[in-house]
Amino acid sequence: MAQSEQEILEGLAEIVNEETGIETDSVELDKSFTDDLDIDSLSMMTIVVNAEEKFSVRIPDDEVKNLKTVRDAVTFIHTAQG
């Protein structure tokens, strides 16, 4: 079942928190995963795999590099959920 972008943001923030310890409140739409949240490529992949499971979507490896901001990820997941 498709979720709202706000629900996806909250779920994604929990995943980021579990992997990195970053406070969920800090995971905001306009933040960059690398520049603002200091998440490296391997942690990003862990977040992607956990997001796939949580939101029942597939995020191909080639797509991961395009997910630069939290908004990019939320939008991709929202669209993929249809």
Binding site: D40, S41, L42, M44, M45, V48, V49, D61
Partner: protein, 345 residues
């Protein structure tokens, strides 16, 4: 025009083949290792990739690696490890019945490295190379197990050896710090009890580009880097496959061996990256009291050599018990993988 078809003659039917009998079980009799003398700390590599020691440690867990001398070949390194393993097994080179070398850094496509090592050891047994990258050692153990049990050799020398410094692009931020040089060896021989569990192995050729020699040899000639071929790796793709793809394979090896994860005395994964090891432990739900190979910190990723190098160190330092059960899993370029539970020598 009609084609004339010859009628094949009937078989003579006068001879009956005899076959050799093997033994019911095989085990690893001893392991050996060779670490080149020169230690290369991260600080020697950071300038060319605009990085820091801490950045490399955070992303890989690697502190230093060994580098073979310029004139030191994989045959030289393999010989050291082989003699060490034979000594650990209590065997003379003359008792070796077959030699398998797993490597991707032998500089000749032919002949293989193994016959050259056989000559060094003064034997003329069957000798061939296995090309299964970072899974090469576990492939070799599986083959040796089958050879001993099938009766084609009594004692098989399995060697994982790499001189990856010859294939490293020291300007590539993604891989310049990952690789190291070294050799590890094991002797597989007959056993009264099961010593090598069933191997879970396979390949995923659709992902062949994830880790590879960047250019074919012909294209590498005349290319930058003085015509030298180097390795390239898609880090995120490999990370996903290694963790979420390989944890179920490791679990299958445990299940097929007829044991539970709690029965393990050691977990010996290929030393690809400390982050992969940590994530794999989490996925496997490995009990916290089981020792895990973390040789990568001072050895880096030595491909086919990583598992026997880690095994030898942990046994020598008393971290894991002789006679205990160890889960070993190799995975890498191909993509290929192999996992099995073994009894530690």
């Amino acid at each position: 025009m009609t084609k004339s078809i010859r009628t094949a003659p009937a078989p003579k039917g006068t001879g009956t083949l005899t076959t050799v009998d093997g033994v019911r079980h095989a085990r690893i009799w001893g392991v050996g290792a060779y670490r080149p003398e020169r230690v290369v700390p991260n600080s020697e590599l950071v300038d060319r990739i605009d990085s820091t020691d801490q950045w490399i440690r955070d992303r890989s867990g690697i502190i230093s690696r060994r580098r073979a001398a310029r004139d030191e070949s994989i045959i030289d390194m393999a010989e050291h490890a082989a003699r060490d393993a034979l000594a650990a097994a209590g065997l003379e080179p003359s008792q070796v019945g077959a030699i398998l070398i797993s490597t991707v850094t032998h500089l000749l496509s032919t002949p293989a490295a193994a016959p050259m090592l056989a000559e060094r050891l003064g034997v003329q047994c069957p000798a061939f190379d296995v090309s299964a990258a970072c899974a090469g050692y576990c492939y070799g153990i599986s083959l040796a197990n089958d050879m001993v049990r099938g009766g084609s050799a009594e004692h098989v020398l399995v060697i994982g050896v790499e001189k990856l410094s010859d294939f490293t692009d020291y300007d590539d931020r993604g891989s310049a710090f990952i690789f190291g040089d070294g050799a590890g060896a094991a002797v597989v021989g007959p056993s009264d009890t099961p010593g090598i569990g069933p191997t879970i192995w396979g390949s995923d050729g659709a992902q062949w580009q994830a880790i590879r020699q960047r250019e074919p040899w012909l294209d590498a000639a005349g290319a930058p880097l003085d015509g030298h071929a180097v390795l390239t790796m898609a880090g995120q793709t490999v990370f996903r496959w290694a963790v979420w793809g390989m944890a179920p394979i490791a679990q299958q090896a445990i299940d097929k061996a007829g044991i539970t994860i709690d029965d393990l005395d050691a977990f010996l994964p290929h030393q690809a990256n400390m982050r992969i090891i940590d994530a794999m432990i989490k996925q496997l739900k490995l009990p916290a009291d089981i020792p895990v190979a973390r040789d990568i910190a001072e050895t880096a990723n030595t491909s086919a050599a990583s598992i026997p190098l880690a095994t030898e160190r942990m046994l020598r330092e008393g971290e894991i018990p002789h006679g205990g059960l160890a889960l070993q899993i190799g995975f890498g370029a191909g993509l290929v993988y192999a996992a099995q539970v073994i009894v530690l020598p």
